[in-house]
C-alpha cells in the first residue's frame, strides 16, 4: 500500500506491505537505522520515536498508522557534529555503553522532559499538577519503559538532570 511518512521534516512516499511496522519501514525501507529493534513487542523502548511530539514504540505502530503524522527519530534530534543538549549530556555522562538502547533513551527523554513541563504527573510525583522536581525517583519512574542491559541508568538520569537545565531540548526537531 502507498504510505506517506513525514519524517524529520522530510516527506517520503513508500509502497509497503500493510503488515510493515513503522520501525521496519524506518530500518528496512528508508535505511534509517538509528531507531533500534530490541524486542519488536513493546517491551524494551529501543524503538522509541516521537509521533506528533509524543514518544511511541515504533514496533507497536504500523507504518500505515503514521500516515500524515509528524515523526521525529534520533536522526532528527541532532547529528554527530551538532548534538542536541540531551545527546551532549549522554556523551559527557557516559549515559550508554554499547549504545543500542541509546537512541530510544534519548528520544524518550526528549519527550519525557516536555511531558513534565506540560504538567503530566507520574507514579513518583509528589502532586498531580506540577511543577515536578527533577529528582532521581521522578526521572527513573518516567524512563522505566526504556531498558538498558548495559545498565547506564545512573548515568542516564544524571545526563537528563543536566540537560533539563537547558531550555531547548531539540535541536532540529521537525
Amino acid at each position: 500500500m502507498q504510505i506517506t511518512l513525514h519524517l524529520n521534516g522530510a516527506t517520503h512516499d513508500l509502497d509497503l506491505d500493510p503488515r510493515t511496522t513503522l520501525l521496519d519501514a524506518l530500518r528496512h525501507h528508508l535505511g534509517m537505522t538509528g531507531t533500534k529493534k530490541g524486542c519488536d513487542h513493546g517491551q524494551c523502548g529501543a524503538c522509541t520515536v516521537l509521533m506528533g511530539g509524543r514518544r511511541i514504540n515504533a514496533c507497536l505502530t504500523l507504518a500505515c498508522m503514521a500516515q500524515d503524522a509528524q515523526i521525529t527519530t534520533i536522526e532528527g534530534l541532532g547529528s554527530p557534529e551538532r548534538l542536541s543538549p540531551l545527546q551532549q549530556q549522554f556523551l559527557d555522562h557516559d549515559g550508554f555503553q554499547c549504545g543500542y538502547c541509546t537512541p530510544g533513551q534519548i528520544c524518550s527523554a526528549t519527550a519525557m522532559l516536555e511531558e513534565m513541563e506540560a504538567g503530566w504527573p507520574s507514579h513518583a510525583s509528589e502532586n498531580l499538577d506540577g511543577p515536578f522536581e527533577l529528582s532521581h525517583a521522578e526521572i527513573a519512574e518516567r524512563m522505566s519503559g526504556n531498558l538498558c542491559r548495559c545498565a547506564a541508568y545512573a548515568n542516564i538520569v544524571a545526563a537528563i538532570q543536566q540537560a533539563a537545565g537547558t531550555t531547548d531540548h531539540r535541536e532540529d526537531a521537525a
Binding site: 506491505d17 537505522t33 517491551q43 556523551l91 550508554f96 549504545g99 541509546t102 526504556n146 538498558c148 542491559r149
Partner: protein
Amino acid sequence: MTRHLRVDGPTHDDRLDHMAQGILGQPLNRLEGPLKVTGWAAYAAEARPANMVYGVLVQATVPAGKVLEIGDAPGALAVIQDKRMVRYAAQGMDQKGPTSGPDQIEYMGQAIALVVAESFEAARHAAQNIAVRYKVSSVPVEPEAVTPELPPKKQSAAGDVDKAMREAAVTLDQVWHTPSQMSAAMEPHAAIAEWDGDQVTIRAALQMLSSNRKQMADALGIKEQNLRLLSPYVGGGFGSKLGINAEAVSAAIAAKELGRPVMVAMTRQQVFDLAHRRSETRQRIRLACDADGRLTGIGHEVLVSNLPSSEFTEPVAQATPFTYQAAHRQVVHAVARIHRGCAGSVRAPGEAVGVTVFECAMDELAEAAGIDPVELRLRNIPDVEPTTDRPFSSHKLAEALREGARLFGWSNRKPTGQQVEGEWMIGMGMAAAVRVNMLVESRARVTLTQDGQAVVETDMTDIGTGTYTILGQLAAEMLGLPIEQVEVRLGDTNFPPASGSGGSFGAASSGNSVYLACEEIRGQIAKAMDCDEADLTLQDGMARAGNVARLLSDLIDGQISGEGHLQPGKTEKSHRQATWGSHWAEVAVNRWTGEVRVRRMMGVFACGRVLNEKTARSQCLGGMTFGIGIALTEAMEHDSRDGHAVSRDLAEYHIPTHADVPPLEVHFLPERDAYVGPLQAKGLGELGICGAGAAVLNAIHNACGVRVRHLPATPDKIVAGLKD
C-alpha cells in the same frame, strides 16, 4: 615489525605512569560516542546491500527427536535446510564450529530451517506457518531427574570437611538454588551475509572475531581466508555473542544458495531460546569455623546442567578454592545432562552465581558466629592461594573491605529488623567481590603517519566496554599525541587477530598488544633520534631526548607502523591472578507486600591500572545492576514437561529497569598488578557482578530477617518468610 611479549615475569617499572601525554586513565568521553547518541553507529543488521532478502529462523516445537518433513512456505523464495546449519551456538574461543545437523533436535526451540523471502513480513509469515513433521523422542529436561556426571577434573578435596563440620564451634550447611539466567543484550543477534565468488563477508553481532572466523569457516566448510567478519559495533554481549550462532551460519548458507545478500535477525524470543543460558544451579555450602570465626572447613557442592553434547559447564565454584583460608576443603561439581537450551557463558560465568551464593553463606555464618560480616571475611583472607601455595599477583580484598565499610557507613548498620520507617524495614548488607583474571593472545597494528595521525587496527570488538576509547588513549599516551589525532579501527577480520571481548580479558589483552605495537614504533623513532627508546619522550607531536627536540613529522618518512603481539606466559601459572572488591547495599523491604527497593549501592574495586575512569566506572555500574537482577528479578523458567524457556522475552524475564536501580557509587583502589603484562591492568567487566547480588540479599536479611535461598528474592518468597 612485530614486537612480541610472552608474559613470563613481572613488570615492576610503572612506565605508563611516567609518560608525558597524561591521557591514559583520564575520564575521556567515548571516541565513538557521538555516533552512538545520534543513531549513526551501524550495528549488525544495519546495512542494506543491493538485492538483499530477509530470512527468518524456523524453530523446533518438540524437545527432542528428528525432523521428518518440512512443508511448503507460500510467499517465500526458499526454505533452507542444510546439514551445515548449527544446533546451538559455539562456546567462547572454540576453534571449530558447533554441532551441526539441524534435523536432529536436541532442545525445544532449536533452529531447524530458514525461510527466506523478499520482505521481512513475508518471511516471518511463512516461517510461523510452516508445517513440520517430527519423530519425537522423550528426554529428561529436569536437572534433578537424572544421575549427574562428575567430571574428574572439576572435583577437588583436601582434608576432611565432614570431620571439620563435626568438630567446629560454629557451622553452616544450607542449599541455594539459582534459576537459568540470560545475558539479554539489547541488540538481538543478527547477521547479513554477502558472497562475491568464493568470498563471503558476514556482518554480525559477535564478541570474538578471530575465533568466530575459525568457527564459521569450519561450519561452512570454507577456507578462513575466504571469510571476512565485520562487527564494528555490537549492541551488548555479556557472553551471548562469544560464539557463532544459527542466524549467521544460516544467513551465509542462504546467501550462497540464492546468490543474493541475506539478513537474518533473531526475534527477542529466539534470542532466549538460542543464545546460551547461564545454567540453573543448586549449591550446597558447608562452612565450619572456630569460635573466633576462623574457617576450618569449606564445602561447595554444585549441580549445573547442559545438553549431553555440549562440553561447557558453569564453573560455579571457580573462586571458592582461593577466596578464603581453611584446612579442610571440598569442591564437588556435578553436571546433569538434560535437554534444555544450551548452557554457556553469561557475564562472569562461575562467580556471578557462585560468589553470590557463597557470600550469602558467609553472611549466615557471621550471624551464627556472632561476628560482624566484614570482620569474618577479614579473618579468613589467605596469604597465598590455599590449595596450591602460589602467591597472589596482587591482593586487595582486605583494603576493599575496610575502605568500603568506611565509605558506606557500615558502622551505622542496625541489628536485624531494628530499623523501621513506616511500612518499610531497612537493612544493610555487604559481600566480597572476586573474579579470576586472565590474558589471551592478542595482536594489533599501529601506524603513524607523517602528519602525526596514528591509526590503531585490530579485530578486537567494542561491545560497550570502551575498547575504542582505551586503545585510542593508550596509543595517544605512548606516541605523545592528542586523542583527536588517533583513530581506532575495530571489528574487522582484515585487521590483526585480537583476544576478542570476553571473560574480562579484552581490555588488558588487546591493550597490551597496542602497547607493544607503540613500543615498536617508539623504537623506530628512537633510532631516528639516535637515542635509547627508554630516553625518548613523545609529547604533542614532538620527540625529545636529552637536549634534542624534533617534530615527529620530521622524523617520519611517509609512515611507520608496528605490530604488537601479546601472549600469556608463565605468570599465568606462577601466580594466582584475580580482581578483588567489595559490594555494599542498603534496601527497604515492605512489611506488607514484601517488595524490595534497593536504596543505595556501592562497590569498591581493585583491577590494576584503570585505563579510563569514566568507561571503567560504567562497566562496574553495569555489573552491579546485573547483581540487582540476580538478587531480585531475573529468572528464566523452564517448562517441566518439555524444558522450553517459558519466560522468553523482556516482559517475562525481568532485567532491572530505571526505577529498580538507585544511584550507584563506584570506587577504585589504586593498584598496579606486575604479573599481568606491562599495562599492569586487569579485567573489570565482570567483577562488578560477582557478589553484588549477595550484598542485596544480605541487606534483605538485615532489614527483615528473611533468608531467600531460592533466587530471585521476589515478593512472594519474602512475604512467606515474614513473621506477622
